[in-house]
Structures are given as structure tokens and as C-alpha cells.
């Protein structure tokens, strides 16, 4: 993975010193809380209901074992022994003291990490495919491009005070696992007919209060132009995005107001001023960056290990984990291991310091010392020998990280909700528990198959509910928590927003409603249909009838 040179180190260390100075000026009364607020946000520090929350950047979800150990250390030393992995592949801590945050940042800097631009109205962490470099359906490894964009966007002086936050995602695979059509800029790395590498560029996608699917602004952008083109988009947005209403300030609103053709015209006009100047990248830049993401030292192996097959037939728990939590790898004899952070009874995405340390050890022993985070709030060991899977499973199982529920209805995306977040209308963690309790039988879970359940505690949609196969949104009705359901959302290549099911549902009936939806699915499905496929065929009515039957 990418390793800092002296320039990267200097920038991160100087950012730590700058933030330390900001905190000291605040504590000395020289910088008001109001003036500190946008500054601390740009370093990932929020004020939540109970305490500060610090969000640490994990660029495109890549971690090495030393970094994971530091994340564990921070959880132990400065927090209550756990951290929460987020839908932007970052981690956040819910209980740090303001005065400790500069020290936390200094600890992070030691392992080449930071909290720069994890919040605030600026360019956020670049997110990507958690299977980058190892997925069988990958066309081009997106990580070198992610890192190039990360560096350009870090502390960009002109785009630090945008109308609103700005999110960029990159995918290089046939199946989009990074939801690029739901980003302010979404990039698909592709090859044109001449086999040249470039990007299909989407702009103006996003979730939040006004969910919008991104529009194609450029069918093929040569890769050497990626920074200049992003800069042109950002400059048009910085100058013309709305600033009078924060709910209408994202780029999607500007793109919709102008229309994609007029927006494209403005971007191209701006781009023409500087497209062939300093921001144009050279072949050697890509080669240099690609060298940071070499193929690991794979052994020459065959698929199908005898010991593995034997244990799959002997141990049903192991076999269930193998089938649901591991995926095909592009190199023979290896497998991708998904590590579920959705253990029953635990807030989705949470991991303890012990679990993080265990992950680091397991990664060192079996996975080239590397771990990825996913936007679905799980972890990934990308390169595990098939012959090691049994040992990896045992090690993960020993620390509660082998729940075989990846892709199931229990593998839900969930924001922190009312338990922590000052924006939330409703709790989501307790709802996750309620749903978990309805699906304790793994055989039933497997029979239901792939369901992407996504839940947000308010309209800001941190839990991406609009693109859940089942989406649940917490709303406030006269001081009570109610839940609005959608069905049929899809964050993949066939991007789709969910259809509203009907009136909001009472808090204690949410689990029942999920059961009702899945009952209808199991009655009506044909052949290998997933919930999403059945929904697309039969529409919302049968689900509606079942869920609201009691009220009728």
C-alpha cells in the first residue's frame, strides 16, 4: 500500500501541530467555540450528544496491521475500548476529550494516518472498492488513482470552504462495490476501444435529504486529465453552488438546476483554461503510484485444498462461514475473507480494541499484514490462502468476528442514530437489535439470501437507506420515534432509489415489518430471485398489503 515520503510526513505532522495550536488557542480563550467549530470539523472532530466524536480517515479503506494496532491503542487509551467503522470506510471514536485529540492525531501520524477532511464542507475521504486488486471482476486496480486524488485534494487551499461536503469514489470493477453513482463525483476506471485507460465520470449523485443518481458528465476522460477535470468541476461548484440553504448546497442541486448539459458546458469552459498545464499527469506518475500497490508475494497454488474441503464437510459452522463470508479471489489457491462486524447484539460496525488487535495479528500471520474496511461497515482480509481458512476462521471466531451473515438481512448498514448523534431523530442501534432478534435462525437467514438492509436515524441518510433493498429511515412524529420504509433501492451499477412502502411504522413494529416483507418475498419469489429481483417483478403492492394488513 501507499507509503508516505518525507513530504507526506511533513504535511501530516504540520497539520497535527496546527490543530494542537487551534485547540490551545481555544482552551486559552483566544478562539471562540463558534470559530473553532469549522476548524475542528475539518479535522474530523464533532460535538455529539454526550461528548466529542473523532473521525479518523482510512483512505479508500486500506490499513496495514501497524495502523490497525494504533486504532486499537486509541480505542483503549482515549476512548471506551471500541471504535465504530463507518460507511465512508473510516473509523470514529465516540468519547475522546478535546484536550487529548492533538495527542491522538500525533499517535496516528506515527503510522501515517490522520483525520484531515473527514468532516466539514470540503473534499472528504476518497472511497473505493474493498476488493481492489483482488476481485475477479476487476478491470483496473483503482487504488493508484485514489491515492493520486487523495494527495491533490488534501488541504487544497481553494476548495476548503465549499458550499457543502464533497465525496469522491472510484471503482475499477465490473460490479460497482463503491456506489460511485451516489457520489458528488463518481469515477469508473475503464479502457476505451484503443485500450487506453481513463474514467467514466459521474457527477451530482448523492443521498442525504434529496437522493439523486449521478449523471455522466464525461463518457471517457483520459487518465492524465483526472486532476484538472476534478479541479474544473470543483471550481464551478465552489463558485456557483448554493450557499443560502445548507439543504440545497450539494453539487447535485446545482447540476439539477442547470441541467447536466449546461453544467458540462461550464465545466468544459473552465477546464479549457488549464487542462494541459501543471495538473496534467504523466505516464511515470501512474507507474510510480502503481508500484505502491504491487501484487503480494503469492504462492503458486491450486484452487480447492483437501483439508479445507474435509473441514467444510465436517463442521457446519465453518462451512456456513466459508460460504457466506468468503469470496472468490483472482489468484488461484486464495480467497477473500469478509470479517463481519455485525455480531448479534453489537452495534453494526463497532469493534473493540481486542478485536482490532486480533485483526492485526491475523492479518500479519495470514494476509500479508493488510486489512481493508468496507462501506458496508465490515472488514476484509483480501489475500488468504485457502489452506489457511480453517485457522483464520478459528482465530476470528475466538474474538466474535466470524458471524456468518455477510450479505444477509442481519448484515445491515446502520448510522449511530439517536444514541450518539445530535442530528438524529430516532435510534437505529436498538432497531438493528430488534431486527437481529427476528432472524436468529441462520438457515432461515440463508434461505432469504442477499438482502441489503440500510438504516438511517434521520434524513441526512448516513445509513444510505435510499439504496437499501430494504431502507429504514427514523423520523420524529410529535416526539416519538417512527420508521419510514422503502423497498428496492440499489447502490450497484443498476443504481435505483427505493420506493416508499407507506406510512411510517411504530418503533416496536419495525422487526415485524421486516419479517412481513421477507415473508412476501419467500412466497412470491421465482427460481433464484433475490428480494430485489422479486420486488422489481411484482412491485410494491404485495409488500404493502402484508405490512399494513393489521392496520387495515
Amino acid at each position: 500500500m501507499y507509503q508516505y515520503d518525507s513530504i507526506d510526513k511533513t504535511i501530516v505532522n504540520e497539520r497535527v501541530a496546527q490543530f494542537r495550536d487551534q485547540v490551545q488557542r481555544h482552551l486559552a480563550g483566544e478562539l471562540s467555540a463558534a470559530d473553532l467549530q469549522p476548524l475542528r470539523l475539518r479535522n474530523g472532530l464533532y460535538m455529539q450528544i454526550h461528548a466529542h466524536m473523532l473521525r479518523v480517515s482510512i483512505p479508500y479503506g486500506m490499513l496495514n496491521s501497524a495502523q490497525m494496532r494504533t486504532l486499537a491503542h486509541i480505542a483503549r487509551k482515549y476512548d471506551k475500548g471500541y471504535g465504530h467503522f463507518t460507511t465512508r470506510q473510516n473509523i470514529q471514536y465516540n468519547w475522546p476529550e478535546l484536550a487529548d485529540v492533538p495527542d491522538i492525531l500525533a499517535d496516528l501520524a506515527e503510522v501515517e494516518m490522520h483525520a484531515i477532511q473527514t468532516s466539514g464542507n470540503c473534499i472528504r475521504n476518497i472511497s473505493s472498492d474493498q476488493y481492489a486488486g483482488v476481485a475477479p471482476d476487476e478491470i483496473i486496480d483503482p487504488r493508484p488513482y485514489c491515492e493520486i486524488i487523495r494527495q491533490w485534494s488534501t488541504l487544497h487551499p481553494e476548495f476548503y470552504w465549499l458550499p457543502r461536503k464533497f465525496k469522491i469514489a472510484v471503482t475499477g470493477a465490473t460490479n460497482d462495490r463503491a456506489a460511485v453513482q451516489f457520489h458528488d463525483i463518481g469515477l469508473e476506471v475503464i479502457k476505451n476501444a484503443e485500450q487506453e485507460i481513463g474514467f467514466r465520470v459521474y457527477v451530482g449523485g448523492g443521498l442525504g435529504r434529496t437522493p439523486v443518481i449521478g449523471k455522466v458528465i464525461k463518457e471517457f476522460l483520459p487518465r492524465e486529465d483526472i486532476l484538472s477535470y476534478c479541479e474544473a468541476i470543483l471550481r464551478v461548484y465552489n463558485l456557483h453552488g448554493r450557499r443560502d440553504n445548507k439543504y440545497k448546497a450539494r453539487i447535485k442541486i446545482l447540476v439539477n438546476a442547470l441541467g447536466i448539459d449546461e453544467f458540462r458546458t461550464q465545466v468544459e469552459e473552465e477546464w479549457a483554461h488549464f487542462k494541459d498545464q501543471e495538473l496534467k499527469l504523466h505516464e511515470v506518475d501512474f507507474d510510480t503510484m502503481q508500484a505502491f500497490f504491487p501484487l503480494p508475494d503469492y504462492e503458486v497454488l491450486d484452487d480447492g485444498d483437501a483439508r479445507l474441503e474435509k473441514w467444510r464437510s465436517l463442521d457446519t459452522r465453518f462451512n456456513a462461514w466459508y460460504e457466506h463470508n468468503t469470496s472468490a479471489h483472482k489468484h488461484a489457491g486464495y480467497r477473500i475473507v469478509n470479517v463481519s462486524l455485525k455480531e448479534h447484539g453489537v452495534a453494526p460496525g463497532d469493534a473493540t480494541d481486542k478485536q482490532m488487535d486480533a485483526m492485526a495479528d491475523i492479518a500479519d500471520q495470514y494476509a500479508f499484514g493488510e486489512i481493508r474496511t468496507t462501506h458496508e461497515q465490515n472488514l476484509v482480509l483480501a489475500d488468504v490462502r485457502q489452506q489457511d481458512l480453517l485457522d483464520v476462521w478459528k482465530a476470528l471466531d475466538a474474538v466474535g468476528l466470524a458471524t456468518p451473515n455477510i450479505g444477509s438481512v442481519n448484515d445491515m448498514i446502520c448510522c449511530p442514530g439517536l444514541d450518539f448523534c445530535s442530528l438524529a431523530n430516532a435510534s437505529s442501534i436498538s432497531i438493528a437489535k430488534q431486527i437481529n432478534e427476528k432472524f436468529t435462525d441462520f438457515q432461515e437467514l440463508y434461505d432469504i439470501g442477499e438482502v441489503k438492509l440500510k438504516m438511517s436515524g434521520c434524513m441526512n441518510a448516513c445509513g444510505h437507506h435510499h439504496v437499501g433493498h430494504i431502507g429504514i429511515l427514523g423520523v420524529d412524529k410529535k416526539g416519538e420515534e417512527w420508521y419510514q420504509f422503502t423497498i428496492g433501492g440499489d447502490a450497484s451499477n443498476h443504481a435505483e432509489l427505493g420506493t416508499r412502502l407507506g406510512p411510517a411504522i411504530a418503533k416496536d413494529k419495525v422487526g415485524d415489518a421486516v419479517v412481513d416483507i421477507l415473508t412476501v418475498y419467500r412466497q412470491q419469489r421465482q427460481d433464484d430471485e433475490r428480494l430485489l429481483d422479486t420486488f422489481r417483478r411484482v412491485g410494491v403492492e404485495p409488500f404493502k398489503d402484508q405490512v399494513y394488513a393489521e392496520q387495515a
Binding site: 513530504i7 504535511i11 496546527q18 493520486i148 494527495q151 488541504l155 463558485l239 443560502d244 504523466h282
Partner: protein, 192 residues
């Protein structure tokens, strides 16, 4: 000759313009604390050159575009404001007549003026002073300098000596801007 040179409407006195005149005793210019005597005159719908005080002023862009010759005839250095919701393009062919461009910040979280400064320096080649005034404090100075501002007036009560520290917070940067023209990758290219 410059009156109404733009066919598009140029709204006046919008909420994105300063609502009151701004004058500071001190300014930071090229990293040094100096006395300041210029008054930044707020726009009103009917403002004309005849209403201006005889001392040094910066004038709203609209006044400059409407009464350019009268502004020059005052015999003072010419200083023109570009508000966040205005465009430096409107001034681009007249920069030779202008000594100072003033970027008034109604709110420091409004980043449009950063793009204005960047364009003035890198696209239109403006060599005069670019002065940020209004809601501009310590923590904005570093990036404002990067995009091309070289002068600052801070609100009353801000410690200018402390603020001078802001210019040395970062010794390395990734992007080209008005302060330096190199992209990080082109610098690394030179090393290899």
C-alpha cells in the same frame, strides 16, 4: 466607456456584500503589520462617486464599472472590491488601471473569494495587492495566501502578532496554486 459593459444584470447590495463600511487601523501586508488608512465602502443601490469620502477608499465593483473615469479622477490609488457573488472576469481587461483588489468576506466559511483570488493571479496575471477584509481571521490566512492574497485586515480584537504565525504553518503542499506552481507529482518526477 465601461458603463454597463455587461449585458447581464449586475445586482447591487446583495446579502453577499458587506453591509457596512470597513476600516482598520492596522493591516498585514506581505507578512508585516502596517498602518492602514483605506476605507472599504459598502454598496448601496444609489451609491455614486460623489458620495465617497475624500480619503482613500475601495469601491464596490459596480461603482467602478459604472463610473470608472470618476473613480480614477479622484487621484487616489484605485482599489476595487469583488464580492463573493461577483466575478473577477468583469474586471479582467481593466486590471492595469487597478492598484488593489479587495475581497470582502461577509462570512469566512464562504469560499468563493478563494477562487476569485486564484483567477486574478494565475489567469488574469494581476500583480497588485489583493487584500482580504471582513470576517477573515488567523485560520484563513494560510490558504488565502496560497490562492494569491497578500494583504489582510482582521476584525477588531484579533491579535495580529499571533496571526503572523499562520503564514508558517505548512512548509510543504501538494497542489499548484498562486503561491507556487508545482504539483506534487511533478516535483517527485524531477527527483526520479
Amino acid at each position: 466607456m465601461t458603463a454597463n459593459r455587461n449585458l447581464k444584470a449586475r445586482p447591487k447590495a446583495t446579502p453577499d456584500r458587506i453591509q457596512n463600511n470597513i476600516q482598520s487601523e492596522k493591516a498585514i501586508v506581505d507578512r508585516a503589520i502596517v498602518d492602514s488608512a483605506i476605507q472599504h465602502v459598502a454598496e448601496t443601490d444609489a451609491l455614486s462617486v460623489a458620495d465617497l469620502p475624500s480619503s482613500a477608499v475601495s469601491v464596490p465593483l459596480n461603482l467602478w464599472l459604472d463610473e470608472r473615469d470618476a473613480v480614477i479622477a479622484r487621484g487616489q490609488p484605485v482599489a476595487v472590491q469583488i464580492a463573493a457573488d461577483e466575478s473577477p472576469e468583469d474586471l479582467a481587461d481593466q486590471l492595469d488601471s487597478i492598484d488593489m483588489v479587495v475581497l470582502p468576506f461577509v462570512s469566512h466559511v464562504d469560499g468563493r473569494s478563494y477562487s476569485h483570488a486564484y483567477k486574478l493571479r494565475t489567469r488574469f496575471g494581476f500583480k497588485g495587492e489583493i487584500r482580504a477584509v471582513g470576517d477573515v481571521k488567523f485560520d484563513q490566512l494560510g490558504f488565502l495566501t496560497r490562492v494569491g492574497c497578500n494583504a489582510f485586515e482582521l476584525p477588531d480584537g484579533e491579535n495580529l502578532e499571533t496571526a503572523l504565525r499562520a503564514f508558517d504553518e505548512f512548509s510543504e503542499v501538494y497542489q499548484p496554486s498562486a503561491d507556487q506552481g508545482r504539483l506534487i507529482f511533478s516535483r517527485r518526477r524531477a527527483v526520479h
